[in-house]
């Protein structure tokens, strides 16, 4: 039994292989980018907006409001990264409704890659907002004794982000697989619905945690 889409290989040459994770991720990225380009070609400010533009506006303004609630004062600077994170994860988990689709986030590779992106983005945004010395000073924040704990905390929360998303998505697909051998008629449908709910909640959690880390790195003490 394969526990991750990494093991479904479509094409292999030497050590380069195209497996289901890579293919699904690229297809998702392609779909999202093409949809955004097509909708953005005809933006209007008037009342005659297309419903696709309305949908995008709802999504963007909701994310901006959420980022303001979390503590980021200028959400437009960070919404490129955080909004894309949320939209990618939400689309990846909603598309489980399509038969034959396996979410790329049920493989540790994808979730580790996204967690590494957050791990790299937090210092970059922190240095951009506070300067190099100002950002490094935040590690000594309460007292200098906290320095090793702050550093370990950085690594452990990245690891926690990756494992949390991976564990939730993989357990959803695995429970459905096991239930198909026990009670195949109606029970797996409930578990798929539960998996859909968990997927959306985990996408929200991932992006909210990423924005909380960025807010903590960017916010200066005077606020």
């Amino acid at each position: 039994m394969n526990i991750s889409p990494d093991q479904t290989v479509y094409w292999k040459y030497g050590f380069v292989e195209i497996n289901s994770t890579i293919l699904t991720t690229w297809v998702l990225m392609f779909v999202l980018v093409v949809a955004s380009i097509l909708i953005n070609r005809k933006l209007t400010l008037g009342l005659g907006r297309t419903r696709w533009q309305n949908t995008l506006e709802i999504i963007v303004t909701t994310i901006i409001k959420q980022l303001k609630d979390v503590g980021i004062d200028e959400p437009r600077k960070y919404i490129g990264f955080l909004g894309t994170l949320f939209i990618f994860l939400a689309t990846a988990s909603v598309c489980t409704l399509i038969p034959g689709y396996e979410s790329p986030t049920s493989s540790l590779s994808t979730t580790a890659a996204l967690a590494l992106c957050v791990f790299v983005a937090v210092p970059i945004y922190g240095i951009g907002a506070k300067g190099f010395v100002g950002y490094l000073k935040s590690y000594i924040e309460p007292t200098i004794i906290m320095l090793p704990f702050n550093i370990i905390g950085e690594f452990s929360r990245t690891l926690a982000l990756a494992i949390r998303l991976f564990g939730n998505m993989m357990s959803g697909t695995m429970i459905v697989g096991i239930l198909l051998t026990i009670a195949p008629l109606l029970f797996p449908i409930f578990m798929i619905v539960l998996g859909l709910l968990t997927g959306m909640v985990q996408a929200y959690i991932f992006s909210i945690l990423a924005s909380v880390y960025i807010a903590a790195a960017v916010r200066s003490i005077g606020n």
């Binding site: 526990i3 949390r164 564990g167 939730n168 357990s171 695995m174 909640v201 985990q202």
Partner: protein, 93 residues
């Protein structure tokens, strides 16, 4: 110790540990989730118009608590299905 006994021992230890991991690892998160939902219901009863904030914070807190149970689940799944020691020991013959 011959290979057959070693293989049997490793298989047995993996399966027993997987069972105990998931059993013990779910006690703590289940209790804390119960407590957090109870206190969320308490505060909803006291202030119903703060309901969106309370609900959102409740869900975020539940997902964070759930993640420790997920850690135990991942370990037990690895022990059963993707156990590296087992894949090594069955290649010895």
């Amino acid at each position: 110790m011959d290979t057959i006994t070693l293989t049997a021992l490793i298989g047995m230890a993996s399966i027993i540990t997987a069972g105990i991991t998931i059993a013990v690892g779910c006690i703590g998160p289940a209790l804390s989730e119960g407590k957090s939902v109870a206190s969320a219901l308490n505060s909803l009863a006291q202030q119903p118009d703060a309901s969106p904030t309370i609900t959102r914070t409740l869900y975020i807190g539940l997902a964070m608590i759930e993640s420790t149970a997920i850690y135990s689940f991942v370990i037990s799944i690895i022990l059963i299905f993707a156990n590296p020691i087992w894949t090594y020991i069955i290649t010895l013959k």
